[in-house]
């Protein structure tokens, strides 16, 4: 019986989370346990379109909960468990939902060696997937969110998965993480966007998440072919323009910033090379979002 998370009442959601909520995102099934209210709220707001599963094989058994102990009342903390192991130090209890998202990323990046994994966002339009490598501070997440809200299909905002057998991009379609000013920029430009609770003072600053469009989630099983790699850079007052980016440089960038290029050995080289072979590589500078959207639309038309 295929049920989406959004079809559960909040009470039902909480109750399932208490003993294990079975959620699928792209190729991965997560069994999520939590008694933390922010986790329930975050999932209800941001994952309503995701399919729930019943029994069988789950890729990752995870838990986010308050940490018990003397600090439980004074400065409460929460932590993330993967199958009984705590890979992180505890965080303030308010950061429970971002912790869930980071934990899910950690599970994938740390274990899904079956794929070549790049640190990049990837979106598709008109059958063409554009990869946005994630250099910090470059405005990638703002751009990703804007494209997602402008008719582009979201495949991933953080980890780009490449299938080792056919070289295609495998979607996750999970929420887009927004930081600091991005949150206000997106709210202002897209008033209808659904954004989850804001977490203040995380190690990444102020963090919130954008709900992926229903259609992106509905198409999470459709792989896509990459045609462009674009290195974005926001610069005040810049006019939106594309510049040539060396393929060799893009190759090395993808390899050094990837999660498992080295681990895959020769296969990593071949998969990465095939990607660069088939993609046009660009630098992209912009200041106004509307201009950026226009340029991207032209890129894939």
């Amino acid at each position: 019986m295929a049920l989406n998370l959004g079809e559960l009442s909040l009470a039902e959601l909480r109750s399932r989370l208490a003993c294990g909520l079975d959620l699928r995102t792209g190729p991965f099934r997560f069994l999520i346990r939590s008694r933390h209210e922010y986790v329930a709220r975050g999932l209800a707001t941001l994952y309503p379109d995701f399919p729930l599963q019943e029994g069988g094989f789950r890729d990752f058994h995870i838990r986010v909960d308050k940490v018990s102990g003397p600090r439980r009342w004074y400065r409460p903390q929460c932590n993330f468990w993967h199958d009984g192991h705590e890979p992180f130090k505890p965080l303030p209890a308010d950061h429970a939902f971002p912790l869930l998202e980071w934990g899910m990323n950690w599970c994938i990046a740390g274990h899904a060696q079956h794929y070549l994994m790049l640190h990049a966002a990837v979106l598709e339009r008109h059958g063409r997937a554009v990869i946005l490598p994630g250099d910090p501070g470059a405005g990638k997440s703002t751009l990703t969110a804007a494209l997602t809200l402008s008719g582009w299909r979201l495949l991933s905002d953080e980890i780009t998965l490449i299938d080792r057998n056919d070289g295609l991009i495998v979607p996750l379609a999970r929420p887009v993480s927004l930081k600091n000013q991005s949150i206000d920029i997106i709210r202002a430009a897209f008033p209808q966007a659904v954004i989850g609770d804001i977490a203040l003072d995380t190690h990444k600053g102020t963090v919130a998440h954008l709900k992926p469009p229903r259609e992106s989630v509905a198409r999470m099983d459709e792989k896509a072919r990459a045609t462009h790699i674009v290195f974005p850079r926001w610069r005040a007052d810049a006019s939106a323009h594309l510049g040539h980016h060396s393929k060799a440089d893009a190759f090395i960038h993808a390899a050094t910033h990837g999660f498992n290029y080295s681990l895959l050995g020769r296969l990593g080289f071949e998969l990465n090379a095939a990607l660069i072979d088939t993609c046009d590589c660009w630098d992209f500078e912009y200041s106004r979002l509307e201009d950026a959207l226009t340029v991207f639309e032209e890129l894939v038309s």
Binding site: G56, F57, D83, A112, Q113, H114, L264, G265
Partner: protein, 354 residues
């Protein structure tokens, strides 16, 4: 052991049963295998019929195999480099455990993941070896003077060394038991019987009986019970491969007596047979030097069997945590005299976690 653990052990004993596991069973088995450090081994055992496994399950097994393959390649590269670094060492340089299995493509190598390269050299060559490694970019990773002393004076190792560029970890040994251990053995005999590798003439591996004995000694003396089942699986793989030759068993027992390693061998045989159904001639166990009597055997069973299961929460019996701790104390008891043991354990308990 609980029913949830039954399928995992069954898979290790009889790999073909994996083709019939449903997704519910796999949901347990994959996690147990990962906790025990045996995900790669399951992958290797299932690789002949991988198309019959659920795709999602095979992805995890293949991921572990990818990692193991990468380490196998890295060991080959590392040995090539180390052949030059250690060219001036007199006498054999013997690879132990994971590095030996990978370098010589021995049965336990399939899908096995290991972290360090373990080398055994003659005691007289230890200083020369350490210096040669330092000059080639290896540096020690001990934290402070106490750790340094712990390693150098009391244990049988220098602190682990790491290569500055390649980041590989290396452990240099001159014995397989620490100086402070109650049990004494003769590493010179292991070195003398070692067999040079065709591909890397600078390096040797222990002869087959010594491979088994070293693995058994390491398992029962090191205290690393998180990987107890994995080490037992190594022993199982070695015994299945070598034990087919009837002449192997008397040689193994005689060697155990010569090297004074009868007791660890006895435990290895006993628990490999019990948990992994390793085919072992009844006579081998019955005539094993230092086999324990039935009373202390039962006590040891109560201690060891839960410890082998302790890797994953689902397999843990109520007392397994205590069993693990007792074994850890026992392993250290075997290694250090009591007056040194208590301060050391206290110190380990309170050292700040990185």
């Amino acid at each position: 052991m609980r029913p949830a653990c039954g399928a995992f052990l069954h898979a290790l004993r009889e790999p073909a049963v994996m083709a019939g596991f449903d997704t519910q069973i796999w949901d347990h088995v994959i996690r147990q295998a990962r906790a025990a450090g045996l995900l790669g081994r399951l992958g290797a055992l299932a690789s002949g019929f991988s198309e019959r496994l659920p795709e999602a399950v095979w992805r995890h097994l293949e991921a572990a195999l990818t990692l193991a393959e990468q380490q196998r390649r890295a060991v080959h590269w590392e040995l090539g480099q180390l052949s030059r670094t250690l060219a001036s060492i007199e006498g054999p340089v013997v690879l132990l455990k994971g590095a030996a299995y990978a370098a010589a493509d021995l049965p336990p190598a399939a899908g096995r993941i290991f972290t360090d390269i373990d080398l055994l050299v003659p005691q007289a060559q230890l200083g020369t070896a350490e210096l040669a490694l330092r000059l080639d970019g290896w540096f020690t990773s001990a934290h402070d003077a106490y750790d340094l002393r712990y390693y150098r004076e009391w244990m049988h190792e220098l602190p682990p060394m790491r290569h500055i560029r390649r980041q590989t970890l290396l452990d240099l040994h001159h014995n397989i038991l620490p100086e402070t251990s109650r049990r004494k053995t003769q590493p010179a005999l292991i070195l003398a019987a070692a067999l040079p590798l065709a591909e890397f003439p600078r390096f040797s591996i222990p002869e087959p009986a010594d491979q088994v004995l070293h693995s058994a000694t390491h398992l029962f003396h090191e205290g690393e019970w998180q990987h107890g089942l994995r080490d037992l699986a190594d022993i199982d793989a070695l015994l299945r491969a070598y034990g087919a030759d009837a002449a192997f068993w008397p040689r193994l027992l005689a060697r155990a007596a010569t090297l004074n390693l009868g007791r660890p061998l006895y435990y290895a045989l006993r628990y490999a047979r019990h948990l992994l159904r390793t085919p072992i001639p009844e006579e081998a166990i019955a005539t094993c030097p230092e086999r324990s009597g039935s009373v202390s055997g039962a006590v040891m069973d109560a201690l060891f069997l839960p410890a082998f299961a302790s890797a994953h929460a689902e397999c843990r019996a109520a007392f397994s945590g205590i069993a693990s701790f007792l074994l850890y104390v026992r392993s250290h008891w075997l290694r250090m005299p009591v007056h040194l043991l208590i301060p050391h354990l206290l110190r380990k308990a309170f050292k700040p976690v990185e």
